[in-house]
Symmetry: C2
Subunit: 214 residues, 2 copies
Amino acid sequence: MKKNTRIVLALDETDKKKALKVVNDVREHIDAVKINWPLVLSAGPEMITELSKMTDVICDFKVADIPNTVRLIVEGAVSRGASAVIVHAFTGEDSLKAAVGAAGKAEIYAVTEMSHPGGATFTAKHAEEMAVIGVKCGVAGFIAPATRPERIADIRRIIGARKILSPGVGAQGGSASAAISAGADHVIVGRAIYSSQDPKRTASEIENEIRAVL
Amino acid sequence: MKKNTRIVLALDETDKKKALKVVNDVREHIDAVKINWPLVLSAGPEMITELSKMTDVICDFKVADIPNTVRLIVEGAVSRGASAVIVHAFTGEDSLKAAVGAAGKAEIYAVTEMSHPGGATFTAKHAEEMAVIGVKCGVAGFIAPATRPERIADIRRIIGARKILSPGVGAQGGSASAAISAGADHVIVGRAIYSSQDPKRTASEIENEIRAVL
């Protein structure tokens, strides 16, 4: 993924037409688009390919399976045009290594903790351990919440120069400039852009906010 | 899902034609077919609908996301024809409740531990806690490994009359009759059936093996 505007659009939209339109509107202001399974279930895996013609596609599939299934999912996503796949780290070393091995030139990002309330029950307890395992397995980067910039800095100390993508900017309350200042490489913005009256203008404003702190 | 032959076919096959053929061959010997994301990525989400015309479909999507995304994935699978969806329990109560709420009359099965070596690092440590949370959230049942029948009995003590599906029968070394004897409601069999020279005969033999211990 290029590092230009530092913005990843979370395309949490299941209507194919609307999804394609918003990406087309904002494509010059984003480095990539992040899609999840609901869009695949509604519009089919062909959407990965279609979107990949406009921008880099990160498949936020939160893959959490045994090594062989992880391999098949990552291979399937990459062969459809994905530039990156997001996987869970709690499945352990063998599953993470299978993801990295299957990705080829595509990137694997690991989730070490989740930002919803239920994330506190199990994932938050093991976040640092999972980050260490991710580094050992050769992932390209990690996901860390923009809503808690101090956690971005914590993860940064463990992972060195690997990348950090930060979700939670905008509708969930996180600030793009604070996340980037805390060490994030990219911020992930969803509703704030795709539900905006003027997605292109909103994306451009966030781009300017980020440029001001670089 | 009906409880007749007690066999669920794990359709870990990404070739659409082969997948449909084997299900058609063995349909009278199975209670359901279990599919995973690799088949959706290769053959499209329409496969859920197509298979649901032949037998019950369990979407083994190992859903592990924030509540709203969990809801969208479960709704998407059920609207395509799934009778059940498998989700991870490690995402905590709110995500599990979202799955159960979105399923309607379809069933939610929760994963509490994973059988691959990496499963020992995090999931096995919290399996009992996750089973308790699953019961509290109203899941229909749980996944417990046929390769370790003592774990089926452990989970049974926590979950009461809820269902247990046991993967790992056949190629991975688990015995169908031992799993059923230990308290499993259904065994999940993959390669032993779909890679068999005669899938129908193999399925029938496993069915007989199970009947002998019922």
